[in-house]
């Protein structure tokens, strides 16, 4: 047995890999011929060899990863954070202005909120359709994904994308391709939070 943590030279690797491969083929052949209980034993042995084959590559992978990490361009984190804050904030500000206008126009709190959400969703959809929202998203990241306009973008972009496969197998089946996980886990978390609130109160 060899030490799995030592970085082998390529030649040593090849020798060991060939050795393991030979063994694997042989055991598989025995397994195919064996019957009953014996067969399971061979299967266990084969799986053990397969694991060894996988473990073998690990040190080389780790060594390579250390080369890669040095060269990976770093994300422009600060810029992204600032842009997300500014754009996300602006979208919320626009939402607030719309809400205030609705409220001034005489709508109640609930109605004004609903109308604001609807209008924002409409705007998100409109700008996705016009092809601007993805340009915004490229700069703003989470700033334009998290607000409700981002939700509209995720649905409308899917609808646009899959329209060509027809309204049933395309739009119908794939409309929630991106938004689906958000809905599933959003709903689940809301239930959990509701339960916690119910019992903690």
């Amino acid at each position: 047995m060899i030490d799995q943590n030592v970085l082998l030279t390529e030649q040593e690797m090849t020798i060991w890999q060939n050795e393991l491969q030979k063994e694997h083929q042989k055991v598989l052949f025995w397994e195919a011929q064996a019957k009953g209980e014996e067969r399971n034993n061979f299967a266990d042995l084969r799986q053990e060899i397969e694991k060894q084959q996988q473990r073998f590559a690990k040190p080389r992978e780790i060594d390579y990863l250390s080369t890669v990490i040095k060269l990976v361009p770093s994300q422009t984190l600060i810029k992204n954070l600032v842009m997300a804050f500014l754009v996300g904030g602006s979208i919320c500000l626009i939402g607030q202005i719309i809400y205030n206008l609705f409220a001034q126009g005489g709508l109640g709190i609930k109605e004004a909120s609903a109308a604001t959400s609807s209008l924002l969703v409409f705007l998100g959809a409109l700008f996705t359709g016009l092809g601007y929202y993805d340009e915004l998203g490229k700069v703003a990241g989470a700033g334009s994904i998290v607000p409700i306009t981002g939700f509209a973008n995720s649905i409308v972009s899917s609808a646009l994308e899959f329209k060509r496969e027809g309204y049933i197998y395309g739009v119908g089946a794939r409309l929630f391709n991106v938004a689906g996980p958000i809905l599933v886990y959003g709903t689940m978390v809301s239930i959990l939070v509701g339960l916690v609130y119910y019992f903690a109160r």
């Binding site: 590559a57 690990k58 080389r60 992978e61 780790i62 390579y64 990863l65 080369t67 890669v68 040095k70 060269l71 990976v72 361009p73 770093s74 994300q75 422009t76 992204n80 996705t128 359709g129 092809g131 929202y133 993805d134 340009e135 915004l136 998203g137 490229k138 703003a140 990241g141 334009s144 994904i145 981002g150 973008n153 995720s154 409308v156 972009s157 899917s158 646009l160 994308e161 899959f162 060509r164 391709n177 991106v178």
Partner: protein, 337 residues
Amino acid sequence: MTPNKIGKQTLQFSSAPVITSWASVVGPMEGKGPLGEKYDLVLRDTLAGEKSWEKAEQKMMQYSIELAMEKHDLLPKDLDFYLAGDLLNQITCANFTARFLNIPFLGLYGACSTLAEGLCMAGVFLEGGFAEKMGVSASSHHDTAERQYRTPVELGDQRPMTAQWTVTGSASLIVEKKGNGIKLTHATIGKIIDLGISNAQDLGSAMAPAAFDTIKTHFEDLGRSENDYDLIVTGDLGLLGHGILKELLKEKGISPDKFNDCGIMVYSPEQDTHCGGSGCGCSGVVLTAHLIERLLSGYYHRLLFIGTGALLNSLTSNQGETIPCIAHAVVLESRGE
């Protein structure tokens, strides 16, 4: 005995088949890139007047082989066999183009190494005396690739800095037993190399070791070094993958000065693609629009062209599998050697 195989993985084409004609068709973004003037046809938009991007990509491939044939006064019936591939599921662009051409066809899939794979195979056919004229095509389309491998095109998400931009483009070449053009003298068929990268948004790092392995084997098999070539160009490693390849080469004591990458050449930095271009079309259009012209003009005499492919699909990457990669190399020489 295998008289035409040298060393472990290299094929020698003693009869030196000739690339006699070639053509490239690209999308508008590539047309605005540094090689924009050199492409045969730049589409006005990514739909090319079709109803879907898939149809547009198929048309692109068709146009490129038609242009390559027309330049050399050939018709589909003059070709003995057609080899083609693309990135779509079941390589539909290639299949549909072959339906149009109506000639014997073999579909290829080597992800972004498809064009190099096609040239290897064309060399084998011609050297073996199985054909006189072969057509080779490969294509990729940014929007079809995005929707198949990643997310809807209009979704407002941020691409990571390691990401590459799939080139909208198709390239075709006609390879003949005899004629005027670029000689195809050797091919090195690559092994799958997987060093454990599983990030589908970082294909450059995944593919660099495969390219390195093929280059190293090619040198060993032929007893050549980087000094025997005027340029060694990889397909679509991008900025990051190219940087890693240079590191790997330096470790082996190979000077990386003569190396370049089509993924870097195809877009200008202002086009904000992060790590550069990728896709079958990337290496294809740079080869046909730029590199072959330079071979022809005598600027380069001998060139090593390495197609690099990441053999993943969206299921395997969602299942957390690492990315197996491959690289095939072909040696191209200008006729005046």
